[in-house]
């Protein structure tokens, strides 16, 4: 599922570009994305119409862009309907076709944290399809290193795409906050330092919000405001801890072992449907953390080797939990402290919004390169 798709569309339009979406056979898995984009009057091409469209418009096409996952044959593919393979294959074919007719077209391939490279066969498949891509974008440095190690791709940029537009950020300062920790979305289990007493479960409230994804643009706009009114005063947001407290080895060793290929890929416990590869905790930029930041809720996350975690901890936008800390008490934080962190979040929008990607696109349009 493509998060914050509306932000990308708005950005492209602000740059004077006309987005055109190519539908693939896995459309069923991304129904909400398509209805949201339709509600923004985005042109959506069916698979059968793509070739004809390219033939007629290849001179006007500036960019070919794809964002999302690559599961490398991992079991999680059953929940996504093989969309990764379809989309990357479509991206590859369209790019090849366009480049034959228009050498100036720029191909951009963005990967989110759901990138798993534990199959040599699938890695070969992917490598063939991305070797001529102009720009590869990733959410985290670790994800880049991961690709470098397994695919030999060393030209990538850490630019986040599936993040909110600056206009959709609702960081508000209050004299008093609700000293609780909100839990959005899924919970993968694994030990955490939170007492159940501290947690506000969004799912228990019975309220549903369309924030990162949604059925229509109108509903997304309403829900974002509604969420701000309902939960804007909650001080903290709970991130994933995965196997943070279960790892006996030091994080540095884990990274090294992963890169050397000597660490099991199936370690994240207690997932409802499928076990996630261990690497996920270190390479992923969790969507829920983006949403917490969008509303000024301070993420409570492990101080691990995930470089996105480290970045927001060091910028004083999130609370980093040391493995020795066994109990996080939200009452220990003053209202002033929370306001200070909210201000830091507001001062570092490029970390979790589409601002950096906007700059990248802008530079490509103006200079032909972002450098």
């Amino acid at each position: 599922m493509f998060h914050y798709a509306d932000g990308l569309i708005k950005l492209l339009r602000k740059c004077g570009l006309t987005p055109v979406i190519v539908e693939t056979s896995a459309v069923g898995s991304f129904k909400q994305n398509y209805t949201l984009l339709s509600s923004m009057n985005v042109k959506i091409l069916s698979p059968s119409a793509v070739l004809d469209y390219i033939r007629k418009n290849f001179k006007d096409i500036l960019f070919v862009f794809r964002t999302g996952c690559f599961l490398g044959g991992h079991d999680i593919r059953y929940s996504s309907g093989g969309a990764d393979v379809d989309q990357i294959d479509a991206f590859y074919k369209i790019t090849e076709l366009l480049k034959k007719n228009n050498k100036d077209v720029i191909s951009i391939l963005a990967f989110d944290g759901d990138l798993f490279l534990n199959s040599k066969e699938w890695n070969r498949w992917l490598k063939k399809r991305i070797k001529n891509v102009d720009y590869i974008l990733v959410d985290t440095d670790n994800l880049g290193y991961y690709m470098q190690f397994y695919l030999g791709i060393d030209d990538y940029k850490v630019i986040r795409v599936e993040v909110p537009d600056i206009e959709d950020v609702y960081v508000r300062i209050f004299p008093k906050y609700e000293k609780k920790v909100l839990l959005l979305g899924r919970w993968f289990g694994g030990p955490s330092p939170l007492s159940d007493l501290s947690i506000v479960y969004l799912s228990k409230s019975g309220l549903k919000f369309q924030i990162g994804i949604g059925e229509s643009y109108h509903q997304v706009i309403i829900d974002r405001k509604r969420f701000s009114l309902e939960y804007g005063k909650v001080a903290f947001g709970l991130g994933y801890f995965y196997d943070f407290y279960l790892k006996e080895k030091k994080e540095e060793n884990v990274i090294k072992l992963i890169f050397e290929g000597n660490y099991s890929h199936y370690q994240i416990p207690s997932l409802q449907l499928y076990y996630y590869p261990l690497i996920y905790g270190l390479t992923n930029m969790a969507g829920k953390i983006t949403t917490y930041l969008q509303y000024g809720l301070i993420p409570v996350i492990p101080y691990d080797q995930n470089d996105f975690h480290r970045e927001i901890i060091h910028k004083r936008m999130a609370i980093g939990i040391d493995k020795k800390l066994l109990f996080f008490n939200p009452l220990e934080y003053s209202d002033d402290f929370i306001s200070w962190y909210r201000i830091n979040i507001g001062m570092n929008l490029d970390t979790f919004t589409i601002a950096k990607f906007a700059e990248f696109i802008h530079n490509l349009l103006v200079k032909g390169d972002e450098e």
């Binding site: 030990p191 955490s192 159940d196 801890f241 066994l326 109990f327």
Partner: protein, 398 residues
């Protein structure tokens, strides 16, 4: 073997050096509650400074137990139930505890009704974890967590046999079959032999020919009628009687306050007035931190150490405990070769069982006490005995 203690550290942290010195123990893990960081640091300091060869056996971890209990108390109920504790305990915390509780040869919990270790042991009961329990301070009133510990602990270590009767009377249960005797307040044999015994300190009495009595007490109060401690820390009466009998008295305390109910400090108070009245006979001394064994040199200057104020608690729940209690300071006096003295009528068990080690008196009579001085015998129980008993029972009892 690996020994893990979870819970109270308490005063005289160097007791645990005997655990490190025990040949059966290869590794000692001390998991302490978060209100005892200072004591944990002190233990590490003493080990590193005086017994560095043992430091590799010791590891310590802090757990936010008190902080967590306070949080649950403030959010749910003043006295949280064990179900509340389990329900709201962070999973990382639980994982840590269970990991350490399972991966050890001897899991040791303790020691007192006031330090929340009973509650902690009940948490282990819930998860079916087996442990041994050392117990010292209690009260003669029903405490369900204590009863549960007495029922579930694999072995119990009580200071002496009268505790068994105490619990028989209190709960109607007989714990004798799984009880061994050993006092958690016994002092370190290694510290006594290697450090304190080698301190060359002259008694003050050798210089001035007077009999010097020391009183070690965390607090001293001047309002006797308070509820909280039932006047046990009221020393004005006994100090006056000792002074009138011709003793020189030295009071080492951290705080002189009105009462435990109203812990206010006055620069001028009945104790300072007494000091003014008995110049050169009554001294309010600086607090004495005996966690560093070298500080025993201060205590060793005195001839006698007062074990109890002699104030009899009105409240039965405290009085009945006092009857079987051996106050902590008795062991400090003994380590420093200071002869313990005590008013009769409060510490019943001690009066009957330790008359060779303590001089009990109706009224302080300097000639009578001086006469009995020569017949007191050295007390010969060390923390070493307790840990030896614990480890050998683990090895040889099924």
């Amino acid at each position: 073997m690996k020994v893990t203690k979870i819970g109270y550290i308490g005063a005289s942290v160097h007791r645990y050096i005997d655990v490190l010195a025990e040949e059966n123990v290869d590794e000692f893990k001390l998991i302490f509650f978060d209100n005892e960081v200072k004591n944990a640091k002190m233990l590490q300091f003493v080990v590193d400074k005086y017994f560095p060869e043992l430091s590799s056996k010791l590891s310590m971890s802090e757990i936010p137990w008190i902080k967590f209990l306070n949080y649950v108390s403030s959010e749910v109920a003043k006295t949280p139930s064990i179900n509340d504790i389990i329900k709201f305990l962070p999973t990382a915390f639980l994982h840590f505890i269970l990991n350490h509780a399972i991966e050890t040869d001897i899991l040791w919990i303790g020691d007192n009704d006031f330090d929340t270790s009973f509650l902690f042991a009940n948490l282990l009961n819930y998860f079916g974890i087996r442990y041994i329990f050392t117990l010292k301070e209690t009260r003669y009133k029903d405490y369900p967590f204590e009863l549960s510990v007495l029922k579930h602990a694999k072995r119990i270590y009580l200071p002496h046999e009268k505790y068994v009767d105490f619990f028989q009377e209190k709960y109607g249960i007989d714990v004798s079959s799984k009880t061994s005797f050993g006092d958690i307040d016994w002092r370190s044999k290694l510290v006594k032999d290697r450090i304190v015994s080698k301190l060359n300190v002259a008694k003050l009495s050798q210089t001035d020919g007077k009999a010097h009595v020391v009183i070690l007490s965390g607090r001293a109060i001047w309002k006797k009628s308070e509820v909280r401690s039932e006047g046990r820390y009221y020393y004005l009466g006994i100090i006056k009687r000792l002074l009138e009998a011709g003793f020189v008295v030295h009071l080492h305390t951290k705080a002189i306050i009105e009462s435990l109910d109203n812990p206010i400090v006055h620069k001028e108070n009945p104790y300072t007035e007494l000091q003014e009245k008995y110049k050169n006979k009554f001294f309010i001394e600086d607090p004495l931190d005996l966690n560093d064994p070298l500080n025993y040199s201060v205590l060793m200057r005195y001839d006698y150490g007062l074990v109890h104020s002699g104030e009899i608690p009105f409240d039965e729940t405290i009085r009945k405990f006092e009857e079987i209690n051996v106050p902590n300071r008795f062991f400090e006096y003994w380590v420093a070769n200071v002869i313990p003295i005590c008013p009769k009528g409060v510490l019943d068990w001690m009066e009957k069982s330790m008359k060779n080690h303590v001089i009990f008196f109706e009224e302080p009579d300097i000639y009578e006490i001086e006469r009995k001085k020569s017949i007191t015998k050295p007390f010969d129980n060390y923390f070493h005995n307790l840990i030896r008993s614990i480890t050998e029972e683990y090895l040889y009892q099924i």
